[in-house]
C-alpha cells in the first residue's frame, strides 16, 4: 500500500492499466480536488464542472492507451479536461461572457504599483470565498485559465504554454497580470487604508 502511495502518477496509471483498480483510486484522490476546482473556476458553473470532470475521468478510464512518457500525467489530465470544456462551449455556446479582448499593457498601466503594496497588504487577502470567485470572474479568460492551471493544476509555465499552444512569454505575462489584478481585487480594505 505504501508503494502505491509513493508511486508517481505514470506508475500508478501503468498499474491501473494492468488491472490494479486500487492504483486508480490513489491517482483519483491525488487529482480530484485540483481538477474540479480548475473546472469550476474556468467555467463558473458547478454542474457543468461536474459533468466535464466526470467525462474527463471516464475518458481516461476507457482509453486503453498508455500515457506518453514525454508528457506528465497531470498535464495530460488537465489537457483532456480543458479540451472537453472547449468542446462543450463550441457545442452549446459559452454562457459566461468573459472572453473579451484584453489589452494587457493598458491593463497593466491601471494596476497599482507593486511598491505601493507592502507584504502585509499582500497577506491580508480576503478569505471570503465569494470574493475569491468574484475576483476570478473579473479576470479575462486567458489570464484566468493560466492562473487556474498554475494554482490548481500546479503546472509549470512551459507546461501551460505547451497545453494552450501559446508562447511561453505570453503565458508568463498573462500570469503576472492575473496575479496583479487578483491582488488588487482581493486586497483587504483595511490594509489599503493602512498602506494609504
Amino acid at each position: 500500500m505504501s508503494d502505491t502511495i509513493t508511486d508517481d502518477d505514470a506508475a500508478l496509471l501503468r498499474r491501473y492499466r494492468r488491472g490494479d483498480a486500487e492504483a486508480f483510486g490513489v491517482l483519483y484522490a491525488r487529482h480530484r480536488l485540483g481538477l474540479y476546482r480548475f473546472l469550476c473556476g474556468l467555467c463558473g458553473d458547478s454542474s457543468l464542472a461536474e459533468e466535464i470532470f466526470q467525462e474527463t475521468w471516464l475518458s481516461l478510464v476507457r482509453s486503453a492507451s498508455e500515457q506518453r512518457e514525454a508528457v506528465a500525467f497531470r498535464t495530460w489530465l488537465y489537457q483532456i479536461a480543458r479540451n472537453r470544456l472547449i468542446d462543450h462551449w463550441r457545442k452549446h455556446g459559452r454562457l459566461q461572457g468573459k472572453v473579451e479582448a484584453f489589452d494587457e499593457q493598458a491593463h497593466a498601466d491601471l494596476l497599482p504599483s507593486e511598491e505601493a503594496d507592502g507584504p502585509e497588504a499582500q497577506l491580508s487577502l480576503s478569505r471570503d470565498r465569494q470574493r475569491l470567485q468574484a475576483a476570478l470572474d473579473e479576470l479575462p479568460g486567458e489570464q484566468r485559465e493560466v492562473f487556474l492551471l498554475r494554482a490548481h493544476g500546479d503546472l509549470e509555465l512551459h507546461e501551460i504554454a505547451e497545453m494552450t499552444r501559446t508562447p511561453a512569454e505570453t503565458v508568463k505575462s498573462r500570469l503576472r497580470y492575473a496575479l496583479q489584478k487578483l491582488r488588487r481585487l482581493l486586497a483587504d480594505p483595511a490594509a489599503e487604508e493602512i498602506s494609504a
Binding site: 475521468w57 478510464v61 470567485q133 496575479l179
Partner: protein, 246 residues
C-alpha cells in the same frame, strides 16, 4: 532586479497558496463513487476460459479430491467406450439374421448358396424359417410366449411382403418359362413356397376342372381367393397345370 524577481515569486507563491487553501468546491461523493465504480468495472478481469477454469479446478484448493474425481470420470469414459466398441462388433450378425429370411424368397443369392439349382431353393424351405423359429411358441415360460407373439406381428408383415416379392419373382419366372419353356422346370412343382393347404386347394380346383365340374371348381377357387386374397391364384393355377404333351 534579482530582489524584485524574488519578491514577485514570493507574492505569486502566497497568492497561489491562498487560492489552493481557500478554493471552493469539491466533487460530490456520488460523483466520486460513480467514477471509481466505472474504473473498477473497466479493469475487471474477463471471464476465465474453459482451460483456465479446469486448471483452477484441478490445482486450486481441494485439488487432490478433484483429481480423483477426474480420474474416475476418465475411467468411466474409457470403460463405456470399450463396451460400446465390443457391442458394435457383436451387433452385425444379430441384426443380419432378422431381415435376411424375410427377404430370402426375393433374393436369389442365399438360395443359390443353399442349393446349386435355383429352383431347388424354392422347394427347399418355407418362406422364413428363422422367423418361424423366432415366432414359434417356446416351451418355456409365459413371458417368452408373450414376447414371441409380440415379435410375430412385424414378422408376419414382413412375411406378407416377402410373399408379394415371391409372387412377383414367380410371375417373372413364369413369363420367362413361357418364352423358353424348359421341360424339366415345368415338370417340377412350382408351388413349393406355397402353403400346403393352398397348394392342395389349387390341385383340387384343377382336378375338378379336369373332371368337368367347372362350377364346383369355380366355387372352390372363389373360396381360395377369400382365404388367400393376396395370392394370384390364376397364375398359380396356371403354374400347377401340367404342361401339354409336346
Amino acid at each position: 532586479m534579482n530582489q524584485d524577481q524574488r519578491r514577485e515569486d514570493e507574492l505569486e507563491r502566497q497568492l497561489l497558496a491562498h487560492f489552493r487553501a481557500h478554493g471552493e468546491g469539491e466533487p460530490s461523493a456520488e460523483l466520486d463513487a460513480r467514477i471509481l465504480a466505472a474504473a473498477r468495472e473497466a479493469v475487471r478481469p474477463p471471464a476465465p476460459s474453459l482451460g483456465q477454469r479446469l486448471h483452477a479446478w484441478l490445482f486450486g484448493p481441494g485439488g487432490r479430491q478433484r483429481w480423483s474425481v477426474a480420474f474416475a470420470g476418465l475411467a468411466c469414459l474409457g470403460v463405456g467406450v470399450s463396451l460400446t466398441f465390443q457391442n458394435l462388433d457383436r451387433q452385425p450378425p444379430e441384426y443380419a439374421v432378422a431381415p435376411a429370411p424375410a427377404m430370402a424368397p426375393a433374393a436369389p443369392a442365399p438360395l443359390a448358396r443353399s442349393a446349386p439349382d435355383p429352383d431347388a431353393g424354392y422347394s427347399a424351405e418355407p418362406a422364413a424359417p428363422p422367423m418361424q423359429a423366432f415366432s414359434a411358441p417356446a416351451p418355456a415360460a409365459e413371458m417368452k410366449k408373450a414376447a414371441s407373439q409380440f415379435e410375430s406381428a412385424p414378422v408376419a408383415a414382413l412375411a406378407d411382403s416377402a410373399t408379394a416379392d415371391a409372387r412377383i419373382a414367380e410371375q417373372a419366372r413364369l413369363a420367362a418359362d413361357e418364352a423358353f419353356p424348359p421341360a424339366a422346370k415345368l415338370a417340377k412343382p412350382v408351388a413349393a413356397p406355397l402353403e400346403p393347404a393352398l397348394q392342395q386347394g389349387l390341385r383340387e380346383v384343377l382336378e375338378l376342372r379336369r373332371q368337368g365340374q367347372a362350377k364346383a371348381a369355380d366355387e372352390r377357387l372363389e373360396a381360395l381367393r377369400k382365404a388367400y386374397p393376396r395370392q394370384d391364384l390364376d397364375a398359380l393355377l396356371k403354374a400347377l397345370e401340367p404342361s401339354p404333351a409336346p
